[in-house]
Amino acid sequence: MRTLLDALTRRRRALLFLSWGATLLVLIRLGGYRAFLRPEFGVLLKAAYLILLLLFVAELSRRREAPLHGLQLLSPAILLLPLLFLLNAQGVKLDSYAFEKRSVGTPRVAAQEASPDRQVAHSPGSDARSSPSSTPGPDSAGQFTPAAAPGGAAPDASSDREAANAPRPDTRNSPPSASGPSAAGRRAPAAEPPKGSHGVAVTLLDLYRSPKQYEGKMVSLVGMTNQNAKTRKEFGPTSWMVFRFVVACCAADAQPLAVVADARRGQMEFPNDTWVMVQGIFEMRRYPRGDMVPFIDDAVMSLTSEPQPPFLY
């Protein structure tokens, strides 16, 4: 036993490379790395795996290291530590905890991309939010932009300006369930979602990249639920944040994207961090500070399975 331990400690660096190499192999073969990194990083992990193999072979060809004693155990232990956390991270997803820490202010989309005609009073449940505004908020064009839209294309500036000047968004392409362009005209909630109209399947990233394209339309999207005292106060007791994280490289740079699902029919009760499909009419509401907040009006939420991978890219 002692001889085996001695032999192992004399090859501690080879074992270090082997452990990391084996971990990467499992993550690559089973696709588990996608819980941490965007899919394209698979190639880089394969390169890392190859280098680790080479290092392992090179270490074997080196003279054996001195036997370990005492504090020399620390250095390999530190280098192996991430493997323990990797195990603890199995099945973990970014949820409301990360959402609340990482959200910067209210969810908002580019003001220059949205029609600026809907002023919302800053009190939940107020009728003001459903009536067209006669006093548009401060012109913040160019100031309020998607919280993050990695991979997004450049917006068409000219069409954005046209949209900003238009009195109402164009709703010609809206499905029949969108009963009219006026938000006030849509206030009577139906008991059931409109039959045969589940809306355009979109992601939160689609809505943030081109809100104008979807404004006034019936959409359906998948996200996680979040409701807390702050959201209840700000948007009303029947409103939910429906969020998903968008990742540039790895989960650590994940930025939350969210819409407010205005589920006034009240039949939905979900615990936080439930994956739901939300159907409803997408609209932009201007809040007093000038933020254009993305809403799913008249929302119907239903349970759904977790998308794989859970992130947007």
């Binding site: 790395y33 941490f36 290092l55």
Partner: protein, 372 residues
């Protein structure tokens, strides 16, 4: 700067004199770190904070691992295949020209901040002058095409932002390098293991960090003989040697990286970004705050533009720019990794210069009126 024989000798002496207390201090830090990490895992592995932390820490390590390995691999190749004479011959003779060239090397040889430290260690060992070392170290993680592309995407192809980031980042690197060249002329700046390149044991280049034992066996010295060997067997022997150097570098820099990534993941998990919104009315305060945030949570210069852009509309553009200028050259994990390259006193001075120059640059951008 050319490091004199005397400086190298005094560095070796001081390394011998200070190695024992330094090693003990380092061991205390390592023990505390491991105790904290294992304690967190054992006591709180089911709590939302530790679960989120595990995900973020693993992500940071997995994202950086390929780059660190590639950096160590390239560093090993440099060590074995590029002779000191050849490298010096490639460099412009005038110092300022060498600095300008080194700071722009990232445009043709893009390296992110995780990969650059092992590469620069090897270049420094080869005798690359200090100003050029600093210029490449600080310039490459910002002034490179991958960073330009990611910044363009994050800022929706606002070329003013992209151009300013690359240009100002380049100028920051150049100015700090030139000052460092004057400030540290003739003084020991690199850690003993790097400066001690004339000592017999260093012929194989197996420096593994300031506080690490020399792990190289005699096999490397025998392999040195093979440097002269020609043909396939000589090439294989030299490749093997580069790999052993790469292994040394990976292990030497790796543990600093793990500790740095751990602290960054803690900050990523615990910091509530809404708290940063309360000072936006004061541009200078916003800039300083975003600089602090960059040091605390920055991950990779190729992804940080997306984090910075999440503050659009909430922080002045100049503050977002300060985040994108400082993060790639000064963050927690880099501060730790720099310890495998520079002495602590030098790191403190360089870090202060980085913070000061970025602050001035961001304030100047704000004053220009286009980054409000």
């Amino acid at each position: 700067m050319d490091i004199s024989e005397g400086a190298a000798a005094s560095a070796a002496v001081s390394a011998v004199m200070t190695s024992r207390p330094d090693r003990w201090r380092s061991h205390v830090v390592e023990v505390l770190f491991l105790a904290l990490a294992l304690g967190m895992l054992v006591l709180g592995h089911r709590t939302p904070a530790v679960r989120t932390f595990s995900l973020l820490f693993s992500s940071i390590v997995l994202e950086a691992l390929p780059f660190m390995l590639l950096g160590a691999f390239i560093g090993g190749l440099v060590e074995t295949f590029v002779s000191r004479e050849r490298m010096v011959a490639l460099l412009p003779r005038r110092q300022w020209l060498a600095v300008l060239a080194a700071a722009s090397l990232g445009m043709v040889f893009p390296v992110c901040e995780c990969a650059i430290v092992p590469v620069v260690r090897r270049l420094a060992r080869k005798g690359l002058p200090l100003p050029a070392v600093v210029a490449y170290l600080l310039g490459a993680p910002i002034a490179n095409p991958i960073v330009a592309a990611s910044t363009a995407v994050a800022y929706r192809f606002d070329w003013l932002v992209v151009g300013s980031r690359l240009l100002v980042g380049y100028l920051v690197a150049v100015s700090i390098s030139l000052v460092a060249g004057r400030l540290f002329r003739g003084r020991a700046v690199f850690v003993a293991a790097l400066e001690d390149r004339d000592a017999p044991a260093s012929n194989c280049g197996c420096s593994v960090g300031p506080d690490r034992e020399h792990a190289c066996g005699h096999a490397e010295h025998e392999a040195d003989v093979d440097h002269e060997a020609r043909g396939v067997s000589g090439l294989v022997a030299r490749l093997g040697e580069s790999l052993r150097h790469a292994a040394d570098d990976f292990v030497g820099v790796g543990q600093y990286f793990v500790i740095g990534a751990f602290v960054a993941a803690l900050a990523q998990t615990l910091i509530d970004r809404n708290l940063f919104l309360r000072v936006t009315s004061q541009p200078a305060a916003a800039i300083v705050l975003m600089m602090l945030l960059a040091v605390a949570i920055n991950l990779c210069s190729e992804a940080d533009a997306f984090v910075a852009s999440s503050f659009r509309g909430l922080m002045p553009m100049s503050a977002q720019m300060a985040f994108m200028l400082l993060g790639p050259i000064l963050d927690l994990k880099l501060l730790l990794m720099y310890q495998t390259l520079f002495r602590r006193r030098v790191i403190a001075l360089l870090a202060s210069m980085m913070a000061a120059v970025v602050l001035v640059a961001a304030l100047a951008l704000h004053a220009s009126g286009r980054f409000g």
